[in-house]
């Protein structure tokens, strides 16, 4: 069968450091795929390679069987891969509605010439964009006045807003980079619900997450990276009992967050 998203032997080096090392990574349509690994294991770099932020030194990325390796990020978004960032990258001086409207950019067509010479069609499209943005805000459960300026949002809601903005691009695959970090338990629950809802809407989800209960709870399958290499792949249950994985996490016991993760992994 054909995977919706696939990397074949992608490698990325930064100077002497190999951040991602010949990784083969396949995601099937409609699944929630967890992507875990200790700090600096190359998870975010892999997402950056898929979304076109970095160009791999070797290997290729395929989306629905088509190579997308050298496409500009905005072309990849247009094809149907959306993403969020590990540290929020919202448009802080725009309203929350405008943030999501930017997500609709690649699905709308009005150029300046429309705004000038066919104001009616541009206006209709603008209204649709606004409606759609409201729907996306509603989907993630962000209940604020749409004119709210983003800089005033607390952290948890910023994460939701970023997801709403990504959803506005009408993606087939959404890549979430640590969506639950820095959230309190009730917010975490909320985000898990949102992710399930996204999958139920027919969108494939790839999620990087440090919080083991979250990622083990929602993923259909989990891929584990360590030192840029894929060391394991399987259902959450298989991964929790995989000796390589346990060792990878225990190996960095001098680092607090990692050992926390490992402890969580064994408990859950």
């Amino acid at each position: 069968m054909e995977y919706i998203l696939e990397t074949k032997g992608v490698t990325k080096r930064f100077g002497g450091l190999v951040a991602v090392d010949a990784v083969d990574f396949q995601v099937s349509r409609g699944e929630i795929r967890g992507l875990i690994g200790p700090n600096g294991s190359g998870k975010s770099t892999l997402l950056n390679l898929i979304s076109g932020v970095y160009v791999p030194d070797e290997g290729d990325v395929y989306f629905n069987g088509e190579p997308i390796t050298r496409l500009a990020p905005h072309r990849i978004a247009e094809l149907g891969i959306a993403r969020t960032f590990q540290n929020n990258r919202l448009f802080l001086n725009l309203s929350i509605q405008e943030n999501v409207m930017v997500g609709q950019h690649c699905r709308t067509k009005s150029e300046l010439s429309h705004a000038l010479f066919r104001p009616r069609s541009a206006k209709t499209e603008m209204l649709q964009t606004k409606e759609k943005a409201l729907a996306c805000l509603d989907f993630v459960g962000l209940n604020r006045p749409p004119e709210f300026i983003t800089a005033g949002l607390p952290h948890g809601e910023r994460r939701l807003l970023e997801i709403a903005r990504a959803l506005a691009t009408e993606p087939q695959v959404i890549l979430l980079d640590e969506p639950a970090t820095g959230m309190n338990p009730s917010e975490k629950e909320r985000i898990v619900d949102v992710i399930r809802k996204i999958r139920d809407a027919g969108i494939t989800v790839v999620i990087i997450e440090h919080n083991m209960p979250v990622v083990m709870g929602i993923s259909d399958r989990v891929t584990v990276l360590n030192f840029g290499r894929k060391i394991a792949e399987g259902t959450p249950k298989e991964i929790q009992h995989n000796p390589d994985v346990i060792e990878a996490y225990l190996g960095e016991d001098d680092e607090e967050e990692g050992s926390d993760d490992a402890a969580q992994a064994r408990e859950s």
Binding site: S51, L94, C106, L112, A115, L116
Partner: protein, 332 residues
């Protein structure tokens, strides 16, 4: 419906502003002060152009002054050498300047290296001055180009500051309206997204290269119009008008008025052309004051007068135009 009545109020308000602006020549009899207002209009258009790529798109460049010069010479030479009427020469100057801006933008817009634009534009200002000074067969060199014809329309010669004011006002209104339309369009939203976070905009599906080039080209078109107006208003142009310091004056106008706001260039240009008339003594050290003002604005009031009064204005708008924004700005 209440909504429409608010919209109408807004339109009535702007129409009133325009009517007041149109009545100024009836009240102000001094030729000198009308000349100052015409120059203010030229600066206003330059600043509005800078506002599109600095205020909307978040890039910094110095080219407005070079585009001003190119527009002036293109329009003047179009009328003198190619026998164009003013109403052809002005669009010709605007398009020609836009083309130059487009060609300069292509190599300058590197992804995530926004400052490359600032770097290339410094050189571009110098090179424009060199060409204007040295291509004597075309530009008459450093001596300048005298005898630029005045615009004529329906048999009226716009040869006094009072008459020319209406042409200036017309273009100020048209280009301000254009700024407004751009800002509130899909394209303008994409530009503002680039200003806020270029990488996020690109990843979310905005062709950032394209809109950066577009913003820059548009600013060049504004510069071309300003140049054409200037040339035909003053009647004599020379390369030493279009110096780097003027780029800083225009920058100062945008910063003081409020970068990113449609009204910012209007307030900035009016303030900085009218206030120095009262403070003549500081003219000798104008650049010194502007330089200090730029630093102070950047540090303490990066979004200018309009940005600093955002909440008050939002409250007023809510009151009179029924807009709801006052309660949602951060810090309120």
């Amino acid at each position: 419906m209440q909504r429409t009545s608010f919209v109408n109020r807004k339109i009535v308000f702007y129409l009133m502003l325009i009517v007041i602006a149109a009545l100024i020549p009836q009240v102000v009899k001094s030729r000198y002060y009308m000349s100052v207002l015409n120059l203010a209009a030229v600066y206003l258009i330059l600043a509005a152009g800078l506002n599109i790529y600095l205020g909307y798109t978040g890039m910094m460049g110095f080219t407005q002054v070079a585009f001003w010069g190119i527009g002036s010479y293109a329009s003047a030479l179009g009328m003198i050498n190619l026998k164009m009427p003013f109403w052809t020469a002005l669009p010709f100057a605007a398009l020609f300047t836009g083309l130059i801006g487009f060609l300069l933008a292509i190599p300058s817009m590197r992804r995530l290296k926004r400052f490359y634009l600032s770097v290339t534009t410094i050189g571009f200002v110098e090179i424009t001055r060199l060409i204007l000074e040295n291509w004597e067969s075309l530009t008459k060199g450093a001596d300048g180009l005298p005898g630029i014809p005045r615009p004529v329309l329906w048999g009226i010669r716009f040869n006094t500051p009072h008459k020319f004011y209406y042409i200036s006002l017309f273009f100020v209104i048209v280009l301000t309206a254009l700024s407004y339309i751009i800002k509130n369009s899909r394209v303008g939203l994409a530009m503002q997204a680039i200003r806020e976070d270029e990488l996020a905009a690109e990843v979310i599906g905005v062709n950032t290269f394209r809109y950066k080039v577009l913003a820059f080209t548009l600013s060049a078109v504004y510069g071309g119009v300003a140049g054409s107006l200037y040339a035909h208003f003053v009647g004599y142009i020379s390369p030493n008008v279009y110096v780097f310091q003027e780029a800083v004056t225009v920058l100062c106008m945008v910063l003081i008025g409020g970068s990113g706001y449609v009204g910012g260039p209007i307030i900035g240009a009016l303030l900085l052309t009218i206030v120095p008339e009262w403070l003549r003594f500081m003219n000798e050290y104008k650049a010194l004051v502007y330089g200090a003002a730029v630093v102070v604005m950047a540090v303490y009031m990066p979004r200018g007068i309009l940005g600093a009064t955002e909440t008050i204005r939002a409250r007023i708008r809510q009151r009179f135009f029924g807009e709801k924004k006052a309660s949602v700005y951060p810090g309120q």
